[in-house]
């Protein structure tokens, strides 16, 4: 039962990461890190797994960078 609950929580977390990864690699990444301006598709694809795992951290960075620009 405990294992099933943990797997469910991890599954929901990963789903959140997948949903977050799409807008992040398209738009958010350039706002979070200026070194990504002009990067090609290969780079954006290669950071997707990490984005799915570290999405709460990147979301917080993205929100902070938006506040800076406002």
């Amino acid at each position: 039962m405990v294992v099933q609950v943990i797997i469910l929580i991890v599954g929901i977390y990963i789903l959140g990461g997948v949903l977050f990864a799409v807008p992040f690699v398209i738009k958010g990444v350039t706002e979070v890190d200026e070194g990504t301006h002009g990067t090609k598709l290969g780079f954006r694809l290669i950071i997707i797994p990490g984005t799915i795992v570290f999405w709460p951290f990147l979301l917080s960075k993205w929100i902070k960078s938006n506040k800076k620009h406002d």
Binding site: V3, T39, G42, F43, G50
Partner: protein, 353 residues
């Protein structure tokens, strides 16, 4: 450096190494398969795949963990370091094939979720011979996965070098888990002692290499510099440092690299901003101090990476008195310009007297 990212940083040398890794891995798998089929023709495809990938991944893991201490013992091993990340990702992919096929073979035959089955089908944690060793391999694979997906410089920059390095130091925990996975797994039912011998030899070699490298570094760091004057510490003779090279000194627990280039001495932090590489073991290329690990560069007079790059390291005051080099171990803020110490002709000539 961090001006703009590419998917994979390939140059001629890296491509050469990657082809070498590919050729080695395919040759290993071919030889393993052939030998197994000769001695055990009844072996199934899944078992062959699980065993060949597990031994290959374990072998690569030993090579990867040896590279760090080897480079600290001898600079000739630096080329291996340039390609360590590619080797790490390769090792993860091979280990992932092993993990995936193991789960398919052992946990997909019932009606329980395979991952749930992995953790619940065997709960004999109090037994040595029947310990649920697969869970140990699973957790090791999770660590390798996290390392592989964060191997790009984008993650180093955004997670911060400190967090990134800490995350990647978990490779030692993963190695421990892998060793236990093998000891409590295949070695429990395999009668051939060759597995035990290989594992003991591999672990023994790794531990010895790390101890030797650690001992050498500690010895360097513990050198005492007794002669001090007005905050400056005498570290060496100006002729002890080769042109376009440096010597590293540990003063007040700070590792400082003193570089000789273009008729001057410059003192900068020994720690590269990229992955804490030893800048003092690098050399001056195109007027820039170049890290021996991944080629990050800094200008000697201000510790700044040349534009458009933005890395900065601390600089220090250095002076020469009667051919002796004196360094002030109090760092200036990262990127601060310092004049360096001019080497006069007399100081150069003293070595020939």
């Amino acid at each position: 450096m961090s001006a703009s990212y590419q998917a994979v940083l390939w140059n001629r040398q890296k491509k050469h190494y990657d082809w070498l890794i590919f050729a080695f891995c395919t040759s290993y798998l071919a030889v393993f398969t052939s030998v197994t089929l000769v001695y055990n023709p009844q072996v199934t495809f899944e078992t062959l795949l699980i065993r060949s990938t597990s031994t290959l991944a374990l072998l690569l893991l030993h090579v990867i963990l040896s590279i760090g201490p080897l480079t600290r013992i001898n600079k000739k091993f630096f080329p291996l370091l340039y390609n360590r990340r590619h080797l790490g990702v390769t090792m993860f992919c091979i280990a992932a094939v092993h993990g995936l096929f193991s789960i398919l073979q052992f946990h997909t035959l019932g009606n329980v979720n395979p991952i749930v089955s992995l953790f619940t089908s065997n709960t004999r944690f109090d037994s040595v011979s029947a310990f649920p060793f697969q869970a140990l391999g699973f957790f090791a694979l999770v660590i390798f996965f996290l390392m592989a997906i964060t191997s790009h410089d984008f993650w180093l920059h955004n997670l911060s070098p400190k967090v990134w390095k800490t995350l990647h130091m978990f490779v030692y925990l993963a190695y421990f888990l892998v060793v236990m996975h093998v000891l409590l797994g295949v070695i429990q039912y395999e009668t051939n002692p060759v597995f035990v011998i290989i594992l003991v030899l591999g672990s023994g070699a790794l531990i010895t290499l790390h101890l030797v490298a650690g001992f050498q570094e500690t010895k360097k760091d513990n050198i005492k510099f007794h002669l001090q004057r007005e905050s400056f510490v005498m570290v060496c003779d100006v002729n002890d440092i080769e042109e376009d090279r440096a010597k590293m000194f540990c003063l007040d627990k700070e590792r400082i690299a003193v570089y000789k280039t273009d008729g001057k001495l410059f003192a900068v932090s020994n720690v590269c901003k990229h992955q804490n590489g030893p800048l003092g073991e690098g050399k001056v290329i195109d007027g820039c101090i170049t890290c021996p690990w991944h080629g990050y560069q800094y200008l000697p007079h201000n510790g700044q990476s040349p534009p458009p790059f933005k890395e900065r390291i601390s600089t220090y005051d250095v002076k020469i008195e009667e051919s002796k080099v004196w360094v002030n171990p109090v760092p200036y803020p990262e990127g601060t310009e310092r004049p360096g110490a001019i080497i006069t002709i007399n100081q150069k000539e003293e070595m020939f007297v």
